[in-house]
């Protein structure tokens, strides 16, 4: 059974004259590391953000397992968001909180309001946070403030925070675009390895085609909000690539 099914998704920002996403449909399966590629402004971020409804789709449906995300009222939406981990280009760590608190904040959706106000996370959560920090190699930085880390380290905290949710799907919005090529590769390897170990499917925006070809088994090509390609990575030809990037929209 598919994990995520997107059908005829259309998105238009308020006040915009045209649709940013035009009838996008695709399916993510359990073992997928799915890449979304396309020129700048093609709508990659918009597509990713429509899936957990940080951006409200205009029409079409997004189904995660057997739940229609597009129709959920706020409370149910929050409950469903717990199962979708998200990693951002700009890391979006809470700068003035410790690394540990940043990782623990991944559990907020599972923690009662009053416990989270007092930062009373369960012993199991704390144990899990330490394990994840060890996995991403940051155990010795656990008490540092997030803004004292380097870019690569911050993105590792971002990964640990997303994994803390026990996600059933990972959304990545250009997770390596703010990092230098060497660190970018390390971070992608870490994500790939972890996703495999924990059996989490990944949907990943990426503008570096070489990285996409290396790490992803399926590729969706967007241009100006239109799907130009959707298929296995090895089936993508140079012609397909040219078609995706033929008309740069800035």
């Amino acid at each position: 059974m598919s994990i995520l099914h997107v059908n005829q998704l259309v998105a238009r920002y308020p006040g915009a004259k045209t649709d940013t996403l035009k009838e996008i449909s695709f399916t993510v399966n359990p073992a997928d590391f799915y890449a979304i590629i396309g020129p700048s402004g093609a709508g990659k971020s918009t597509l990713i953000r429509c899936i957990n409804r940080l951006v409200e789709p205009t029409s079409g449906t997004v189904r995660l397992f057997d739940q229609q995300i597009t129709q959920l009222p706020p409370r149910q939406l929050r409950q469903t968001r717990r199962h979708i981990g998200m990693i951002f280009q700009e890391f979006n760590l809470v700068d003035r909180m410790s690394v540990m608190d940043n990782v623990l904040s991944g559990r907020l959706g599972y923690t009662s309001t009053w416990r989270s106000m007092l930062k009373l996370f369960s012993q199991a959560d704390i144990q899990r946070a330490l394990e994840l920090l060890e996995r991403v190699g940051l155990l010795e930085h656990v008490d540092k403030r997030a803004d004292q880390l380097s870019g690569g380290q911050r993105q590792r905290v971002g990964i640990a925070r997303a994994l803390m949710q026990d996600p059933q799907l990972l959304l990545l919005d250009e997770p390596t675009a703010s990092l230098d090529p060497k660190i970018a590769r390390d971070v992608m390897t870490l994500i790939q390895q972890t996703a495999r170990d924990l059996q989490i499917p990944v949907l990943c925006n990426i503008h570096d085609v070489a990285l996409a070809k290396e790490f992803c088994n399926r590729i969706l090509g967007l241009q100006d909000g239109r799907m130009m390609f959707d298929g296995e990575t090895h089936s993508m030809s140079q012609q397909d690539l040219d078609r995706i990037y033929e008309r740069e929209v800035l």
Binding site: N52, L54, R78, Q79, T80, R81, R82, I84, M86, F88, E90, N92, L93, V94, D95, R96, M97, D101, S105, G106, R107, L108, G109, Y110, T111, T113, S116, M117, D147, Q148, R161, Q165, L171
Partner: protein, 285 residues
Amino acid sequence: MSTQSQTQNRQLHWQRYRYPQSLIQFTLVLLALSALAYSIHFLNIDLQRLLSVFGRVGEVLAERYFPPDLAYISQPGYLQSVIESIQMAYLGAILGMLLAVPLAWFAAWNVTPARRWLYPLARLAIMGSRSVHEMIWTILFVTVLGFGMLPGVCALVMFCIGFAGKLFAEEIEVIDMGQVEAMQANGANPLQTFMYAVWPQVRTAWTGIAIYTWDVAFRAATVVGFFGAGGMGWYLKRNVQQLETERVAAILLSIVLLVLVSELISAWARHRLSRRRAGNQLQNA
């Protein structure tokens, strides 16, 4: 090579002021100046008299207000009223700022939990408290609640809601929304999002605003008694009415001193705060 020769051949041109804008700006400045001249003329402000006032003020001060009646302000009754003023300021500032925190949260467009109804309501509450002067609030509360400290505290609460609420909300509206989105993507509810993504970002700035609010609230607390709301202001009013000018002088002196002390303490606190902030930035770099 080619660009160099181009620059030599073609005269480049740049102007700071361009025709229609410069004319408009010039006209506006002219209008502002003539309005000022007109109002001075209209008010018939006589510079000669204005200057002579300073001399007269000196005379009056020396004759009637000197020496200040220091014995009067060392009486237990008056000292009690000083304590009362401090208590009123403290209660008013604390309660007012506690109420201002949620209001500021609701009234910040970027993070308000409900843009349709909480946002306009909170905006209205903050604007409402601001649009009425704190002394008018005092008069209103005195007429409703009678004389005493309670109306003073209430007036100060209203003042702090308007004053701190607006500054708090403005501080929220410039935070980094990425952190907020990260919490929303986790499935955090609005209160959790506020605590984990908004509060850490505004904490330092809010502390500075809180100190500033205390300053202004304390200054107001020294005079709300003038309108019947307890504290030193009441003594001020009585002695002004009885023309006890030397006592008035002493009371004014004590007010100036107290406000000065309070300002000094908060200046010191603010200084420490900014030093801590600078230290943080240094660490980040």
